[in-house]
């Protein structure tokens, strides 16, 4: 049985601790507030470095993109948030579409971030790039057999393809760019072909899909580069390798996406927010931002980490990433119709 006195003492201690931790932040303090769709372990080291460099404290919450955008909408002008950081251009586009962001005038950002990796109205800027590439089983197939995303719909891949679920935004963005390139009907045929060729039901994450390829359940899958990087570090013995598709003469190049940031429309401290995002686009932070998750920096002057460079160079699709957002709903419908779960 619970001792009541014990309970009371603990409760008192709890309240004391709460009021200690939960003190309202005065608006004058140098504190920047970030809502992040990127996970804590990928952003916290950057926040700490920023604080060390500038003396500006950063407080933050992390959550899924849907909840964060819903929260920002509901909070409206009372929102304490200054900066939104999130993955995937589709999500950034939605934040812009929902009128949550304000335009950023910044020569620093224009210089550091390539045109196709930023919003045309400067509402958000990409900060790291990830490529969605093929990963194949080196014992069961070879780069000679692999060509393009589209070709994975061909008969020769029957029973040899594994894919992550269509519910993941990375696949939605990829299909959105396919629609941009080929139109709805042709893209649907491609996706139907993928579904026909599946060796197993779609997986809930990229790593599981690669494990299935390594185990010989299928020969090839589509993943973001950093998932391959992580698996490569953990299990270097697996018979897996990266293939960059759509690299031939006159082809579009591989699908790249970004994680990025924008300043919120009702940011209480827009100057701090600008300072932070500019800081993120510069050399040291760019390297760190990308290296934390084995991604590619957006800043062309900053090299990727050694491991990432070892995968080789590629030609990237330079379609403006706002397509990923504009066509996201269309892409989901298409995948639903094609039976891609």
């Amino acid at each position: 049985m619970i001792n009541l006195t014990f309970a009371r003492v603990t409760l008192l201690a709890a309240v004391a601790a709460m009021t200690g931790c939960d003190q309202p932040v005065s608006q004058d303090d140098d504190i920047l507030t970030v809502y992040s769709g990127r996970k804590e372990h990928l952003v916290k080291p950057l926040f700490e470095r920023f604080t060390a460099d500038t003396g500006i404290e950063v407080r933050y919450i992390t959550d899924g993109e849907g909840p964060i955008l819903a929260r920002l909408k509901a909070e409206g002008e009372q929102s304490p948030a200054d900066v939104l950081i999130t993955v995937d251009a589709g999500n950034l586009w939605h934040a812009a579409e929902e009128n949550l962001l304000q335009p950023i005038e910044s020569n620093v950002l224009e210089m550091n971030v390539p045109e196709h990796l930023q919003d045309p109205n400067n509402l958000w800027f990409g900060l790291s790039q990830r490529a969605r590439v093929m990963v194949y089983n080196t014992e069961r197939t070879s780069p000679q057999e692999l060509t393009t995303y589209e070709a994975l719909a061909d008969e020769q891949w029957h029973g040899r393809l594994c894919l992550r679920t269509a519910k993941k935004v990375y696949n939605q963005s990829l299909v959105a760019t396919l629609i941009e390139a080929h139109g709805y009907e042709d893209t649907k045929k491609i996706v139907e072909g993928w579904v026909r060729n599946l060796a197993a039901d779609p997986f809930s994450n990229d790593t599981q899909a690669m494990q299935a390829v390594a185990a010989g359940a299928c020969d090839v899958t589509l993943v973001n580069t950093y998932y391959f990087g992580r698996l490569e570090n953990e299990s270097p013995e697996l018979p897996l390798a990266i293939f960059y598709p759509n690299q031939g003469e006159g082809e579009r190049g591989i699908h790249v996406n970004v994680s990025g940031a924008g300043i919120l429309k009702y940011a209480p401290k827009p100057e701090l927010a600008l300072q932070f995002i500019e800081w993120l686009s510069q050399d040291e932070a760019q390297y760190m931002f990308a290296e934390l998750n084995q991604e590619f920096p957006v800043n062309p002057n900053v090299p990727a980490s050694d491991q990432v460079r070892a995968w080789g160079d590629f030609v990237a699709d330079d379609v403006n990433l706002r397509v990923a957002g504009q066509r996201q709903a269309e892409a989901i419908r298409l995948m639903d119709e094609a039976g891609y779960q």
């Binding site: 049985m1 619970i2 309970a7 603990t10 409760l11 709890a14 601790a17 709460m18 931790c21 939960d22 996970k39 804590e40 372990h41 407080r59 933050y60 919450i61 992390t62 959550d63 899924g64 993109e65 849907g66 909840p67 819903a70 929260r71 509901a74 909070e75 409206g76 009372q78 304490p80 939605h94 929902e98 679920t165 519910k167 935004v169 939605q172 197993a200 039901d201 779609p202 997986f203 809930s204 994450n205 990229d206 599981q208 494990q211 299935a212 390594a214 185990a215 010989g216 359940a217 998932y227 992580r230 953990e234 697996l238 996201q328 709903a329 989901i332 419908r333 639903d336 119709e337 779960q341």
Partner: protein, 523 residues
Amino acid sequence: MHVWSRWAIRLPSVAIALLVAAPILTLTFSWVSIDAQLWLHLWETQLPQLVANTLLLLGGVAVGVSLIGVTSAWLVTAYDFPGRRFFELAMLLPLAMPAYVLAFVLLGVTDFGSPLQGWWSSTFGVAQIDVRRPFFVIAVLSLVFYPYVYLLARTAFKLQGLRTMEAARTLGMSPLRSFFTIVLPMSRPAIFAGVSLALMETLADFGAVSVFNYNTLTTAIYKAWSGFYSLQTASQLASLLLLFVALVVIGERLSRKGKYSEQAIPPKRRVLSGGRRLSAVAWCSSIVLVAFILPVVQLLHWGASRIEYFDMNQLSALLGKTFLIGFIAAIASVFVASTAVAARFFANSNGLRFIQSFSGLGYALPGSVLAVGIMLVATQLDHWLGKSLLMGSFIVLILAYVIRFYAVAAGPMDAAASKLKPSVIEAAKLFGLGRLQQWRRVMQPLLMPGTSVALLMVMVDVMKEMPATLLLRPFGWDTLAVKIYEFTSEGDWDLAAIPALILILLSLIPMVYLMRKIEGEET
């Protein structure tokens, strides 16, 4: 009694009912406009499959939890076999295991590329098999949720089943036949109550099913929200889900018909021998093994390889905050539940009973849906106040837990209250005690066993809770569940292992108290 004081005592019950009603109303209001195109699309491509999947899952889990819960409860109450006393408590251990953790661990050890599959395919020279089948999802959820059935069935068997069965046996009925014709029907209300709890948890589950990419109505709610960015369609899907919940609740209510008298008697156990004894031990130990011990061993294995990733300060902060949130929310929920009991004693009415059972609905809402509803209400109030006070505050987070877990606190409290004899209160009145004194000096001590069970159960549930915590927590209030979400959503299962282990261990603390209490009942 003065009218105002009758109302004052009902006030907390009314307040909690209003708080539960707010998100439900938000859902209902979502129907004011309909995205017809999106619904047509869902109808043509997804909805039939989603409903079929959800029904299959519900049916499967209902069978699964009944099978595991009832058989093991019967074994430990009616028979004696080696390790029975251990199993009697150990069968409860999966309560400390969040469903999403068991899902990723069991899939992790059986999926493509796992050592188990490697061994299987190299030994038998066959291809690795895809384990992500509906059967596996059902098995995982059954293994996590059966303790609800076990706990309630066990009490029912103890209280009335055994003695009646002995009577039937003396009249010449076989043990098996008397179990099916007498014990089972008599214990049906308890078993159904357990099954309905398990089914509500199943309906609300997002984490476990999404590990398997098994699509249910709950995953569709997330998809409508995060894919189509239609919070409105998501809310409409959520209200569809509420229909399923209503079905479960009505089913459970119907099964409650038929009262029986309860009288605890020390059961006379039959000693098992030979093959039966062996199978009883094998059954109980395999469940505890698969649902708890093996997953913990696997988590230890993963965790040990990644321990250098974490720093101890971070982990102890997570642990402290998780515990604190669980504790405060438990106290708050139990406080509300005990005011409900007091209100029934001093100012009962039909209306009061209705709003109290309505308040239990918070438990059936998926955490995410509830969280959004609460967020919308909190931000709306903030707009009225002209100041951002509520959203992201500790108070709202705690209120969210109280709304969600009120039913969990009310269950044991109500059970304890139903055993209070009116004569005791009458006696207190005769001694001239005021109502406050009646409550503090007579009723509160008598309710204490129910109160402590409620406290412990709410605490375990709050510490495992994920979606409401994610959306409503104040800055810096990350809990272990939040950390687990961050890692598992990226497939970093080995990194999730350490916070998961700590969460399980932390949940074991209240669990041990709970088990002690259960053990105490026996003597």
